[in-house]
């Protein structure tokens, strides 16, 4: 696995940076559309290539991907070519009719994002009214008999206490719960210190997840495996090996959490397209070489946590072979040298309005 695969397992494609929300932790600093966005024809060519590479499914996100006028066309185009689609949405376009259409396909999965189990907690991160919008969409999917769509939550200091409530919410809507790690990328770099979980909360989350192997995590929390029994999953950083990201203008990055020039492997518009970037780019080739354990070599837990998340280290100013900023043994926290935006130079598509944490502090 560490030496790479013929095609990615987890391929994220952010179709647009346009978004009707402006979440304070957005990994891609979304808000405004980038005028260089791939055209419909170019997007179709990317899908053709995925089909040739036998990519099983593509995770479509954004921004809010359903804002693109050709979104539903591209979903159908992918499914017709044998590429399954999972898309992440804030739910704003999932009305009863859309929910009904979605429930007819076996090859489309939907992920609704919320970040709190109640409106107050959620809206302080995602904006006024966003909880209502998301739960309306969930209700529409339930009514349409969609089956187990996903409710996706980024774990923060303010919602770890709501784990049981999230599980209850998922059950109420016949959905599956998916929890992922908050990363200091995009606008998340600005809010990291206020939002990332405390170590006690990480321990709580670890035990909660161990007891509930049915909860999906996208392998997000492998750094917590240093606490004892490993969590289910591959337990490694898949960046450039099993994971990558295509952004709205066709840039290919090592993972969804490192939208930064240092981790850009190429552009799908380059000759050779996506396949040659995945298989031959200098960056991915290098990332598939055996990595040194660096500063973590002497820690007995390295085999369990693999040094943690590359993106979390990068954007907090820690060396890539150093410990994770949320290392459960506390080896990372003193090394966090950057308290806001991390290494500068990542793309910012925020709308020109100030982003503030609302309500809860």
């Amino acid at each position: 696995m560490k030496s790479g695969l013929d095609a990615p397992i987890c391929l994220t494609w952010e179709l647009t940076y346009a978004c009707n929300l402006q979440c304070v932790h957005c990994l891609s600093s979304s808000g405004q559309r980038d005028p260089r966005e791939l055209s419909t024809v170019e997007a179709e060519a990317v899908i053709d290539e995925m089909a040739r590479m036998q990519v099983f499914y593509v995770n479509i996100g954004g921004g809010e991907p359903t804002i693109r006028p050709d979104f539903w066309h591209l979903v159908d185009y992918a499914v017709d070519r044998g590429v399954g689609v999972k898309f992440s949405t804030n739910g704003s376009r999932i009305d009863a009719e859309v929910a009904r259409r979605l429930s007819e396909s076996d090859y489309v999965d939907v992920q609704i994002s919320i970040d709190g189990a109640d409106a107050e907690t959620n809206d302080s991160i995602r904006g006024e009214g966003s909880f209502e919008t998301a739960t309306t969409a969930m209700g529409n999917l339930r009514e349409a008999g969609f089956g187990d769509f996903k409710i996706s939550v980024v774990m923060t200091r303010h919602n770890i206490a709501q784990l049981d409530e999230f599980a209850a919410l998922a059950e109420r809507y016949g959905a599956q719960l998916r929890l992922t790690r908050f990363r200091p990328a995009g606008r998340g770099a600005e809010t990291w210190h206020e939002l990332h979980p405390s170590n006690d909360q990480q321990v709580e989350l670890y035990h909660w997840l161990l007891d509930r192997p049915e909860v999906l995590t996208g392998d997000s929390f492998f750094h917590l495996s240093a606490l004892g029994e490993p969590l289910p999953g591959l337990n490694l950083c898949g960046a450039g090996r099993v994971v990558c990201l295509v952004d709205p203008i066709g840039d290919v990055y090592a993972c969804p959490f490192v939208l930064h020039p240092d981790f850009r492997a190429g552009n799908v518009r380059d000759s050779g397209g996506f396949a040659s970037i995945w298989r031959q780019s200098d960056l991915f080739t290098e990332m598939r070489q055996p990595q040194s354990a660096g500063a973590c070599a002497t820690c007995g837990q390295f085999d369990a946590c693999q040094g943690g998340c590359m993106a979390a280290k990068f954007f907090t100013g820690i060396a890539l072979d150093g410990p994770d900023p949320e290392c459960v043994n506390g080896f990372g926290e003193d090394l966090v040298v950057v308290n806001s935006a991390g290494p500068a130079g990542g793309p910012d598509h925020s709308r020109p309005t100030p982003v503030r944490l609302g309500g809860r502090r």
């Binding site: 696995m1 030496s3 695969l5 013929d6 095609a7 397992i9 036998q54 099983f56 499914y57 044998g82 399954g84 076996d106 090859y107 999965d109």
Partner: protein, 88 residues
């Protein structure tokens, strides 16, 4: 249902298989689970299952040495467990 090496099996119609350097990956579009097939011979074997009346017959036809059968049976049983393979 318990796996039966004397029974006939086939690949679930909603499973896609992709060869990889270590063997293959199988993705199930119904339960959305990914399975790792960690032996290159496993792919051809799985694809041949529907041509045979039993799993053991498929082993024989594929020329898999009998001392390796238990390992292959375990692998196929776990694939049947996750519904990558279904009785036919």
């Amino acid at each position: 249902m318990k796996f039966d090496a004397d029974g006939a099996y086939r690949l679930h119609p909603k499973v896609a298989i992709r060869p990889e350097p270590f063997g293959a990956l199988a993705y199930h579009y119904d339960n959305r689970r990914l399975n790792f097939l960690r032996a290159p011979e496993l792919v051809a074997l799985i694809e041949s299952l529907s041509d045979h009346d039993s799993v053991r017959q498929a082993f024989r036809a594929a020329g898999i040495e009998s001392h390796r059968w238990p390992a292959f049976e375990t692998a196929l049983a776990s694939l049947a467990e996750s519904e990558v393979l279904v009785p036919s």
